[in-house]
Amino acid sequence: MNLLALVKIEWLKIKKYPAFWWMFGIVALTYPGTNMMFYYGYSEGTKGKEVASNVAKMLLGNPFAFPETWHTVAFLSSVFIMIPAILVIMLVTNEYNYKTHRQNIIDGWSRGQFVTSKLFDVVIISAVSTVLYAVVAFSFGAWADYDNIGRWAEQLQYIPLFFLQTFAQLSIAFLLGFLIKKAFIALGIFFFYNLILENIAVAYAKIKLDDIGKFLPFEISDRIIPSPAFMSRFGKDMKAAYEKALDAIPMHIALTLLLTAAIWAFCYWKHKRRDL
């Protein structure tokens, strides 16, 4: 069975799954909504004629103008990884819940094909999120400062980086669903770890453990999209930190690719051997 046939079958499963369209809708609102909030904050702080506003404007630049918009919107949107993560976890735990992970094999898939089909789910959801991000980033760029539209093609690397980060983090969500099999437990662990535990661990490691937290599963890929450029304009230390973060991107890309490849290799290995 060729790969296209696998994608078509996954699409048959997804296209009438209400949660997919809910996720699509929520992401389609959240990405522009969050960025709009920040944009509103930015324009409120910089619109006055007084000195403070002008200083703020000078400091921040316009983070939503081309080409900075690609970076700013990627950073702000990536915070909402939990929304597509819910869908990824639902899609894999549904298979266990409905026992269709068995039926797909009974009907003639290999165990490897089953994992590949789920890999495509994660790719599809990452791609949909990336398209939504790119549309939002482009729209802000065109709207926030039309004078800069000629620079739209700069910093386009944030599109593939956004995709990679989304895919990597959704792969961790998949792994949890794949191993735990129960949606609410997998979701609970995902939220608790992603939102609370790892953030505390990373912050603690920054102070006490020579920043070893950068090797934690989500942090590895979090750092392929560092904080937006305007953060570097608050003094020497911030600038140094920003430049260090930019320099670390290639290493984090490599680590992200390694971790993600390891996750999927493990899933194939495990699924081929276990009782379903």
Partner: protein, 299 residues
């Protein structure tokens, strides 16, 4: 006759529990093969192994002379244990997935399968709105999709009402007439006896017996006799040569057991008459599957 399925020494344990112990048998082409056993005897475990849902600890199996693979599974319409479908999809959409994965049938065959299992009218309703019996019928419909030559049904009449059970029994008969090979696990002996040509009986993971129904059942001739005075009848039967055992079934008749093929109705009748006993009942009975089953599976 060519074998559709060859199971060779399959064993499977769950920790200390031995679910299957060295099970071997063959399913010939065109057979309606009943796999029998009490709950927990290992039927579903065995069927799961031959469909690659579970991994055997040891042993092997071959479909159509080849080791089990996705290609062999595509040729088999299977219902294993429960109807497994996407709850949010309709019957038609679910069967589209079955069809896309198995490559069996085309768009028109989905409607055909749904008509056979009497779900055509509800084909656009979501699976989650179906009753237990409808879900089971959809699973049978999915197995029938594209008219495969081999069908595997694990408890096919689960959840069906009496009319549904009779319909499925009739369907299996029709499929058998068409020359399909059907492997069916069940604990409803009556159901199996009515449709199966071959049986295998399992207990606690062991295969007790397997073969054509007639051979498995007919290891004894049972003759049922009745007369006015059963005490006298029993006395004179004890003098008759060749009887292995006499049992009183009720107050009207006795059962005399003979090695298979040795009971002669004429000779028995004559013996009784010569001894002054007039029979009011004399029948050669086949042993029922139920009797055989209890004999084999009772401790």
């Amino acid at each position: 006759m060519q074998e559709v399925l060859n199971i060779n020494g399959i064993s499977k344990s769950y920790g200390p529990i031995k679910a299957l112990q060295n099970v071997s048998f063959q399913v010939p082409q065109g057979a309606v093969f009943g796999l029998l056993g009490p709950n927990g005897s290992g039927k579903t475990t065995l069927l799961s192994i031959i469909l690659d849902i579970l991994k055997a600890d040891s042993g092997s199996f071959a479909w159509f002379g080849h080791p089990g693979s996705p290609a062999t599974r595509k040729q088999i319409g299977s219902l294993l244990e429960t109807p497994n479908f996407y709850h949010y999809l309709s019957a038609t959409d679910n069967l589209k997935i079955t069809q896309a994965i198995s490559g069996r049938g085309d768009a028109a065959s989905i409607d055909t399968a749904l008509k056979i299992v009497k779900l055509y009218e509800r084909k656009n309703s979501k699976f989650s709105t179906y009753s237990l019996g409808m879900k089971q019928r959809l699973a049978i419909g999915a197995a029938l999709l594209g008219n495969p030559d081999v069908l595997l049904f694990d408890e096919p009449t689960n959840g069906l009402d009496p009319v549904g059970i009779a319909e499925i029994r009739e369907l299996i008969r029709e499929l058998a007439v068409q020359g399909k090979t059907i492997i069916m696990a069940s604990h409803l002996l009556d159901e199996v006896e009515k449709v199966c040509t071959h049986v295998a009986i399992m207990k606690r993971g062991n295969l007790l017996t397997a073969g054509p129904v007639d051979e498995v059942l007919a290891n004894e001739d049972i003759v049922e006799l009745g007369s006015q005075d059963l005490g006298v009848l029993e006395n004179i039967l004890q003098q008759y040569h060749g009887i292995t055992q006499i049992k009183t079934t009720d107050h009207q008749s006795l059962q005399a057991f003979f090695p298979v093929g040795t009971a002669s109705m004429e000779a028995i009748n004559q013996h009784c008459f010569e001894q002054g006993v007039v029979l009011n009942q004399l029948t050669l009975k086949k042993k029922s599957l139920e009797t055989k089953f209890f004999e084999l599976t009772n401790d």
